[in-house]
């Protein structure tokens, strides 16, 4: 397996704040990787470091085997779509679509036109007059049509409605199948994208707290529901990530279960159910569900 991105001991300090704190990970080439975490966790800073837009305070980053900082031959393979992207004054949508192909060698103009139509983007309108959702779709279209070998989306769909988001997921998956590339997707909407992701990185307080394949993660926790006494008994000596009690009924999120564990749970009259990726990340980052949902 080859790595598109390798980060070793990467730290980015702003004064006394460590926005990214001694982070080491790699992202495999040709995978869709989710970079998840709360607001202010360090996601955007990390992505800016990966794309040479910001400078590490310590550690090293390699993208396609080389440092990305001021490295044109690496960066021409990278497309970084930011939620907060600035556009030049009075730029129109058509100006973006006209200039983007000059910078991205794999740009597919037909695909871009198709996306403009599907996202119903008015080409002649000024960027600053676009709605929040339309602004996001400009970024999404550039990110998809550029077909950059490394495409990074940072919260790409702020303000996009459910239909447009689904359109983005569908086009991303279909185009990714035809033109495999490395995609890093940072988002709050974890459950919406969880089926897309092959690998998950979770960052919290500048540190990577989860770095695992999505499949492993899905199997790494199970919700156990039953009477309080039965759950207490079952949870003893097992790793409990979370616990809820309502009346006499209790629910516990337990770490990886073996087949024997499952049989034991069934015998004790407990119900087992899968934990969603979002639930799992909330449990592991100690966040309440509301915080993640409303921070988007």
């Amino acid at each position: 397996m080859t790595a598109a991105i390798e980060a070793t001991g990467v730290t980015r300090r702003f004064g006394s704040l460590r926005a990214v704190d001694d982070v080491t990970f790699s992202i495999e080439e040709g995978a869709i990787c989710g970079l998840l975490g709360r607001n202010g966790a360090g996601k955007t800073t990390l992505m800016q470091l990966l794309t040479g837009q910001d400078f590490v305070s310590a550690g090293s980053i390699s993208v396609f085997g080389q440092s990305p900082v001021e490295n044109a031959s690496v960066l021409q393979n990278v497309c970084f779509i930011k939620e907060s992207q600035k556009y030049p004054e009075d730029f129109k949508v058509k100006h973006v679509l006209k200039s983007a192909p000059w910078f991205f060698q794999n740009w597919d103009a037909d695909f871009a036109d198709q996306l403009v139509e599907e996202f119903r983007l008015p080409q002649g309108r000024k960027i600053k007059k676009l709605s929040r959702g339309q602004l996001s779709s400009v970024g999404v279209i550039v990110g998809l049509a550029s077909r950059a070998p490394l495409t990074i989306f940072d919260e790409p769909y702020l303000g996009l409605d459910a239909v447009a988001r689904q359109l983005f997921y569908d086009r991303l998956l279909a185009d990714y199948a035809l033109h495999p590339r490395t995609v890093v997707l940072s988002t709050h909407l974890i459950d919406e994208v969880s089926n897309l992701l092959e690998h998950v990185l979770v960052i919290d307080n500048g540190r990577i707290i989860i770095d695992d394949s999505a499949d492993n993660l899905r199997g790494s926790a199970t919700a156990v529901v039953g009477t309080k006494a039965a759950v207490d008994e079952f949870a003893r000596n097992r790793q409990v990530l979370h616990r809820d009690n309502i009346g006499g009924i209790s629910s516990a999120t337990i770490g990886t279960l073996s087949d024997d564990d499952r049989k034991a749970a069934a015998a004790a009259g407990l119900e087992l159910s899968a934990v969603s990726l979002q639930q799992l990340i909330i449990r592991k980052t100690g966040t309440t569900e509301k915080e993640i949902e409303f921070s988007a």
């Binding site: 397996m1 080859t2 790595a3 598109a4 390798e6 790699s26 080439e29 800016q48 794309t51 040479g52 837009q53 910001d54 400078f55 390699s62 396609f64 085997g65 080389q66 001021e70 490295n71 044109a72 031959s73 690496v74 960066l75 021409q76 393979n77 990278v78 497309c79 970084f80 779509i81 930011k82 907060s84 992207q85 600035k86 556009y87 030049p88 004054e89 009075d90 730029f91 129109k92 100006h95 006209k98 200039s99 983007a100 000059w102 910078f103 991205f104 060698q105 794999n106 950059a148 070998p149």
Partner: protein
Amino acid sequence: MTTTTLPTPARSALARILTVARLHFVNKGQIIVVPWLIMSFIFAVTLIIGWILRSSLSAADLAEAGSGMQYSGAIGYFLVYMLVIAVMAISQTFPFAQSYSATRRDFYLGTIVAFTTLSLAYSTAVTVLGWLEDLTNGWGLGVVLFSPGYLSSNLLERFYVAFVLFLFFFMMGIAVASVYVRWRVNGMLIFFASLAVVILGLVALATVTGSWGAVGAWFVAMGFLGVVSWTLVPTVLAAIVGYLLLRGATPRN
């Protein structure tokens, strides 16, 4: 894990720089159409004033009005406009070009190429219009817009003066905007405070040493052309400082 080779073939530095230069021209409305529309309006107003004067004043008063117009400079409007263009190129097009994965170096050199091209184009236009103005004796109405009295009648010299001034305003815009992009509002405050202190210091120095006479004599000795040529020093310095600042800048929100 093995490292990979780069997925796409590298482009030449020249191709990358010219690509950035093109980016500055993609929205022609802002750098060509709007300034010329405004200039056309100024031109029209000047012509109408010229016509009103011509149809109402005596020959003697007309001559006096004509000499008063000798200091009207259309070029001044273009210069200020280009300063604004340069500021916007650094504060807005720079973060945008970063999203297109252009390096800071390629962006900066491409920007210099774009602005030098614009300077050439605008200097040529202003020189040609000045020549036409002289040829038609002030567009047949004795008005002065493109050929103010302080410019020489030598067209080559006029072109040189315009070109050097355009470069000066562009590079000043680049340098000041680079301070902003690098250090944001605090940078601007410190920059303008320092500038004020330096200018005050120079004024104090000239006053205390009683050398205002020498300063005046220097400007006289240099002449208009000489002073314009001397602006090349701050122009080049601003270009270098702008690069050094932008090299460490991060596109923030």
